[in-house]
Amino acid sequence: MRKSLAAALISVLALSACGSGDDSSSDGASAASCAPSSGPVSLTYTTWIPGIENVVKAWNDKNPNIQVKVQTGPNGNGGTYQNFFNQLKAGNTPDLGHIEYDALPSFRVQDGLFDVASCDIVAKAKDQFIPWTWNQVSFGEEKTAWGIPQDSGPMALFYRADLFEKNGIAIPKTWEEYAAAAVKVKAAGGYITNFSQSDINQFAGFAWQAGGRWFANDGQQWTVNLTDDNTKKVADYWQDLISKKLVSTVPPWTTEWDNAYNSSSAWTWVSAVWGANSIMSGAPKTAGKWRVAPMPQWSAGENVAGNWGGSATAIFKNSKHPYEAAQFALWLNTSEEALALLNKEAQLYPATTAGTKYSYLANPVEFYGDQKIYELFAEAATQVTPDFTWGPTMTSTYTSASDGFKAAVSGQGTLNDALTKAQTSTIDTLKSQAIPVKE
């Protein structure tokens, strides 16, 4: 991650402030800072959600005294996060910003965010969110929150019902059955799935489901654990499928990759809820042939899901109107009106419990043979384990891991080697940014 030394130094101060200052000061000081402003307020909100103007317009029409102006840019890692960091340096961040869960910790260590839990309206709304999504913004702490959860990516198994049926293969309920099915699929001339070699987030979702916990922060120090036993188990599992050539390994998000699905050579995809749309537009020839089933389990009878993606609406600490910003962010991420619009414009899947049950998600989906797939995802959303924490330097962790994954896929080293390397390089990166880390 491209951060300057100065920013790194700030992060030390920030972290020590997080560790020691919060409990004593938050009640008095920041509660006062989250007071309503008098008079009309205008807010800026930077996001790359497509079609967001239409959602914000609905708010602006009804709230003449709190007008929100949308700013945009590329997605977070494509440049908007770096812009946020630059703006933090220059002191001209927008009031609100779109930040993915895995990037929130890096803003937190740089002390860039306003603690929204200090706003009473936010504290009251906490229970509306699915507990694990709230954990993504609170990092498991009681009285803090560094954003309002916006969307989530509970995972499930997308599969080609027609091909499985034609070849008499049962839909795998466990990972063991999935590996067995992979052999049969290969015999039938296909691949069971495509292993995502460069987008580590899918693997992170697998590890999340298996109980891998990559990062932890005790308020003083970070712990990095990319190689815990649960993650190793997942890495060994996929390494085995890769070594036996039971999965294809074309790079994700390319036309080749779309084509693997469109031409029926890849039969399943363990992906997040938003993947439903990826298949629809990437593999239009296969309309009506896909179905969705719960994610395969590590032990038969369990019901645990992973998560892939999701983001929060954060308020930057130099916002002059955090109360109004929080009001808007709550409306945006909890009201049925806004959630329905976000889903229509950008297929965002809500982070609130009520949101997953709204009527716009109850309809059967034609592409999936009229299956009510979102009911299944609503179920999965409740099965994601809550205590997965991201680290403060995910970009560099991803880069290192994906370099190793690409090598492993082409036969050099294994996924576990890649994770071991990523572990070392992540610790080095933390140290180089002067972020305290336990070894």
Binding site: P74, N75, G78, Q82, G91, W253, N262, Q347
Partner: protein, 281 residues
């Protein structure tokens, strides 16, 4: 005897040229073919040959998408680039001319400072510029991209070399004797003589500003101010989320290179003259 030798002599350069041409044109060919396909055929048919020819439907889709924001970006790019290249060329010509034709203290020092500016990549300046513009509250404005784009040290360098070589001192003397002021002499006499160099500077500058991506990326957050490069990049980063954008990015990329192609086709003969003249003198 001579004929086969001649063929042999020509065969090798021709072959090299053919390979180079193929190498340079294949991506553009791919882009053109890709832009002419619908989403389904884009992934499923031969990437280097046509399927159903949907180019115009695709262009229509692109121009209709989000109330034609793409057109706005193209217009912005032309404003940033055309404006900055035009003004920047005039500025560079004036500087270069002054450095070549006037004797004053610190002239060489000044020239060396300008020259060292050639060595500093524009990318390295983007962040400091952002912090400076932040101080005066001018980020996220047209000027935040336009003003820094005016500067072109390489243009000053070229203008100076060319003015030294192609504007005779005697001619300037004659103009002065005839009562022409310095500014008038510059515009009426010097620029005519420097014209090929000015075209070269203009083209270089045009391409540099058109391709300057980092500065707008850092400066701008209002979509209505984006140049087309940043706009397309923004879409491209959203392909995971909104896969239909991929098609639009491809068509947009094709359309976005057309102004460059047009600028080159129109100006290349001047450019050739300019390079030739500079080389001989």
């Amino acid at each position: 005897m001579t004929a086969p030798v001649l063929i042999k002599q020509r065969a090798l350069p021709t072959l090299v040229m053919a390979v180079c041409t193929l190498y340079f044109l294949t991506p553009i060919w791919w882009l053109f073919v890709g832009a002419s396909k619908n989403a389904d055929q884009f992934t499923s048919t031969n990437p280097l040959w046509f399927a159903d020819f949907d180019l115009f439907t695709n262009i229509g889709d692109l121009l209709a998408y989000r109330d034609g924001v793409f057109l706005r970006w193209m217009l912005n790019s032309i404003l940033y680039t055309g404006g900055a290249a035009l003004l920047g060329t005039v500025l560079a010509a004036m500087c270069g001319y002054a450095l070549a034709k006037y004797r004053f203290r610190g002239r060489e020092l000044l020239f060396n400072v300008v020259l060292s500016g050639v060595l500093v990549p524009a990318t390295a300046l983007a962040l400091p510029l952002f912090l400076m513009f932040s101080k005066v509250d001018a980020t996220n404005t047209f000027w935040a991209v336009f003003l820094p784009s005016l500067v072109n040290p390489f243009g000053v360098y070229l203008a100076r070399i060319y003015a030294t070589a192609s504007v005779p001192d005697e001619l300037l003397e004659a103009a002065r004797i005839d009562g022409s002021g310095e500014i008038r002499t510059f515009f009426k006499v010097a620029t005519r003589l420097m014209f090929p160099a000015l075209v070269t500077i203009f083209l270089f500058h045009f391409v540099a500003v058109w391709n300057n991506f980092l500065l707008p990326l850092i400066m701008l957050s209002d979509e209505r101010l984006f140049p087309v490069t940043l706009g397309l990049y923004t879409w491209n980063t959203q392909v995971n989320q909104i896969p239909e954008l991929r098609g639009l990015v491809i068509i947009g990329a094709l359309l976005s290179i057309t102004p460059l192609v047009i600028a080159f086709l129109l100006l290349q003969r001047f450019w050739r003259n300019g390079l030739g003249a500079g080389a001989v003198k």
